[in-house]
């Protein structure tokens, strides 16, 4: 990926991220967050993580954002007009964020592996094909494409099978929790 595109998408991500924090209207914030995530997904694509990028767009920019917007509309939350910001909180937040950013920047600049350029860390699909045990993956690799989803699937279902089950259970518990939370409210009303 050309550096220009990287800077463009980084700018989109951070710019809309800033808008999320500063926008008065929650709808603006939510849509900005969606845009920010689209930029982030593009950054993922630039890192050859196609599957994660798509998931990011589908789950975050799609499902989660719809949920946010839905709640905002449901609760009919207006822009906080006329309300002044809590000055202490704003100053505290900015200072804290600045310190953190400075700290991480210091670490990143002195981190030697961080100097690796993207073209230095080259993928070797032919070599990978030799290591691959599954014929479908090996064929794709020999054809010169990165079978991203298949490799993720291999990792998830072979190596992290149990973890996947646990995550499934977590989603189930989450669903039950949401139902329970809503139900109690209905009784109270």
């Amino acid at each position: 990926m050309p550096p220009l595109l990287f800077y463009l998408f980084a700018l989109i991500t951070l710019g809309f991220g800033l808008l999320v924090v500063t926008a008065r209207n929650p709808v603006t914030s939510a849509l900005s967050l969606a845009m920010s995530f689209v930029g982030l997904a593009a950054l993922f694509l630039s890192l050859d993580a196609y599957f994660i990028g798509i998931i990011q767009i589908l789950v975050y920019a799609g499902a989660v954002m719809v949920l946010f917007l839905f709640i905002i509309m449901l609760l009919d939350i207006k822009a906080e007009e006329g309300k002044t910001f809590n000055l202490k909180a704003v100053v505290g937040g900015i200072v804290l964020a600045a310190i953190l950013a400075v700290q991480v920047a210091t670490i990143a600049s002195s981190y030697q592996p961080g100097k690796t350029r993207l073209d230095e860390a080259k993928l070797d699909l032919k070599l990978a094909a030799d290591y691959s045990k599954l014929p479908t993956i090996a064929n794709d690799l020999r054809a010169g494409t990165l079978p991203d989803a298949k490799l993720m699937g291999q990792s998830l279902f072979q190596r992290y099978g149990f973890h996947l089950q646990v995550i499934g259970l977590l989603l189930l518990v989450g669903t039950v929790g949401v139902v329970a939370l809503s139900k109690r409210e209905r009784e109270a009303n």
């Binding site: 809590n86 909180a89 505290g92 670490i107």
Partner: protein
């Protein structure tokens, strides 16, 4: 021979464990068992009775049979063991037979009671504790079960705890007993110290052995005061449990409990435990003549005073309660007198103690009187005031006859009643003992008063005309209640017959000779008392006598109230002062002040503002990063 020992231990172990497990089962499973709990309790009482009958047949000598090692710390040993001799077997017969009859009676009396199961559970607990006392081969074990009977008595007096008076009475009984028990404990500890930690009643190194030739012998010879104190402390236990003056106040109030309980615990068995204990340690009392005299006098005072109080009571159960007090006083007096008689000379275990003999006859007729009173109360719809009864003779013939037998026995109608013989025995000892003549006259006076108040009760409640509706409609009690009455009436009549008494062992006094003076005096007293009572109360609807002092029980309750108040207030004042200065001031206020200051300083952090919390969280994270990444590597870690 181990085999023989095992067989010796089997029956007593069963006697202890049966009621124990019954009580436990009822306690744990009363919801599950429901009606079956009652039957279980009844069955256990019946089984205990059978076992005690089997024990009567056995021919063990006075050896201590170990049942269960309980505590062993270094040299100190405390075991659950049994001293099975004639006294034990006889007492066990009384306890289990009356226990069984009271269980049967309660089936009828407590039929409608909501707390029936609880009642029978407590009754089983009582049977367990009482058999423990009777069996006890050492004083520590006796003390343990002593406390247990106190507990079960507390539970049973307070059976109708919704009633404030019952709850108060149970507390009063428990607290008053605590005073006596504390003395008992000190007495045991004094003997414990004197005899190197062995307080067995018999056996090698036991107290009896020690008194004859061991450590106690020297102490008794050289330090008479120590011995006297120890014996008097033991006696304090009996004063509490047998409700002797000045701790007698709890027993009349204990009549708040259900009537079967009054019959079993507060007439026949538990209150007699004090006397039983004194007889068990009679050899110690003999070694302390001063203590023996004190005991005899306390008994005499109690007998006379309680008889005086009984003449002015209107509650049918209270009259019987005071009569119990009076009779217990008799027994205690007998214990003291016998000890005085034997003082100095060492006797073998006395087989026929007059105190025990009276305990035994009294147990039967007093239990019967109480059960009879219970039947009357049951039939008159829980009316206890005898002035509201009257004419019950026609309505309740069986109860009337049994009650008449009991009354005759308590008054000591000559020759045919058991009460006469046992009373004669005590008066005989009082007459014989040197310095016993004042006590003899006290005894005679008590006999007269007993005849008087029992005639009063009998005439007012059973003869004449019904004074109220409930007395008018009274009907005979159910068979399940009459049966125990009849059995007890039979036992009352035959219990002093020499053949029968010998069968039960131990209880007949060993000297059969009768003094003419004693007999004439007691018969005269009886005639005067009964005649006076009959003359005064025949056909009366109100009490012609009105003696405030007696009716108010010599104002003992009031005196105690004032005493307790004065002492308590003073003590409370001092303690409160110390409390305010030390506890409130230095130990409580100061730390509270500091904690409060620190708290309010820390409180400002807990503003409840989400943003403040997240800010602090972020600050913490940043600080951790700073320390871990920038400070620690620089410091060389």
């Amino acid at each position: 021979m181990p085999a023989q020992e095992t067989s010796h231990a089997t029956l007593p172990t069963l006697l202890l464990l049966l009621p124990f497990f019954t009580a436990l089962a009822i306690l744990l499973g009363h919801r599950l068992l429901k009606g079956a709990a009652v039957m279980l309790s009844l069955f256990s009482a019946a089984a205990c009775f059978l076992i005690s009958m089997m024990m009567l047949g056995s021919n063990t000598t006075g050896d201590v049979v170990p049942l269960l090692p309980f505590i062993e710390i270094g040299k100190f040993r405390f075991a659950i063991d049994a001293l099975i001799d004639q006294q034990c077997r006889g007492m066990m017969f009384i306890v289990t037979s009356i226990g069984l009859l009271v269980h049967v009676f309660s089936l009828g009396y407590m039929k409608q009671d909501a707390g029936k199961v609880r009642f029978f559970g407590a009754l089983s607990l009582f049977m367990f504790s009482m058999t423990g006392i009777v069996l006890a081969g050492n004083l520590v074990m006796m003390f343990v079960f002593w406390e247990l009977v106190g507990l079960s008595s507390y539970l049973l007096i307070g059976h109708w705890f919704e009633k404030a008076s019952a709850a108060d009475a149970s507390k009063k009984a428990f607290l008053t007993n605590r005073i006596g028990d504390f003395g008992f404990m000190i007495g045991i500890l004094m003997l414990f110290a004197a005899n190197h930690g062995n307080v067995s009643l018999a056996g090698a190194d036991g107290l009896r052995e020690a008194l004859t030739s061991g450590t106690l012998h020297d102490i008794a010879q050289t330090q008479g005061t120590y011995m006297t104190m120890a014996v008097l402390c033991l006696f304090m236990g009996a004063v509490g449990k047998s409700a002797q003056f000045p701790l007698h106040v709890w027993l009349p109030d204990a009549m708040e409990g259900p009537t079967p309980v009054s019959a079993l615990i507060h007439a026949a068995t538990m209150v007699a435990a004090g006397v039983y204990m004194l007889v068990r340690v009679a050899f110690l009392i003999e070694a302390a003549p001063v203590a023996a005299q004190t005991i005899a006098w306390i008994g005499g005072i109690t007998a006379l005073m309680a008889a005086l109080m009984a003449t002015q009571q209107n509650d049918i159960k209270r009259v019987l309660a005071y009569s119990t007090l009076s009779q217990l006083g008799y027994m205690v007096m007998a214990v003291g007198l016998v000890a005085m008689q034997h003082a100095g000379a060492h006797h073998e275990a006395v087989p026929g103690h007059p105190g025990m003999f009276h305990l035994y006859t009294h147990a039967f007729f007093k239990a019967m009187l109480f059960l009879g009173a219970g039947a009357v109360i049951y039939s008159c719809h829980h009316e206890q005031d005898m002035w509201k009864m009257g004419g019950l003779m026609k309505h309740m013939p069986v109860t009337f006859i049994t009650f008449a037998i009991g009354t005759a026995s308590l008054m000591g109608v000559p020759f045919i009643t058991s009460g006469f013989w046992s009373k004669e025995a005590i008066l005989g000892v009082a007459f014989e003992v040197k310095g016993g003549s004042p006590l003899f006259w006290i005894g005679v006076a008590t006999t007269m008063l007993t005849a008087f108040y029992m005639t009063r009760l009998f005439v007012v409640a059973f003869l004449g005309k019904p004074r109220t509706e409930s007395a008018h409609h009274a009907t005979e009690a159910p068979v399940v209640m009459l049966l125990p009455l009849l059995v007890l009436a039979g036992l009352t009549l035959i219990s002093a017959v020499p053949g029968f008494a010998r069968l039960l062992e131990a209880m007949t006094p060993h000297h059969a000779e009768e003094h003419m003076t004693v007999m004439i005096a007691s018969i005269l007293a009886l005639v005067i008392g009964a005649g006076g009572g009959f003359y005064l109360y025949k056909g009366k609807d109100k009490d012609p006598l009105n003696i405030r002092l007696f009716a108010n029980k010599f104002y003992w309750d009031e005196i105690y109230a004032v005493l307790v108040k004065v002492f308590q207030d003073t003590l409370a004042w001092i303690v409160a002062g110390l409390d305010r200065l030390l506890v409130d001031g230095i130990f409580s206020r100061l730390p509270a002040f500091l904690a409060g200051r620190i708290g309010s300083a820390a409180r400002s952090l807990q503003g409840g503002h989400l943003q403040a919390y997240t800010f602090l969280l972020g600050l913490g994270a940043v600080l951790v990063i700073y320390l871990v990444v920038f400070v620690l590597p620089a410091a060389g870690h």
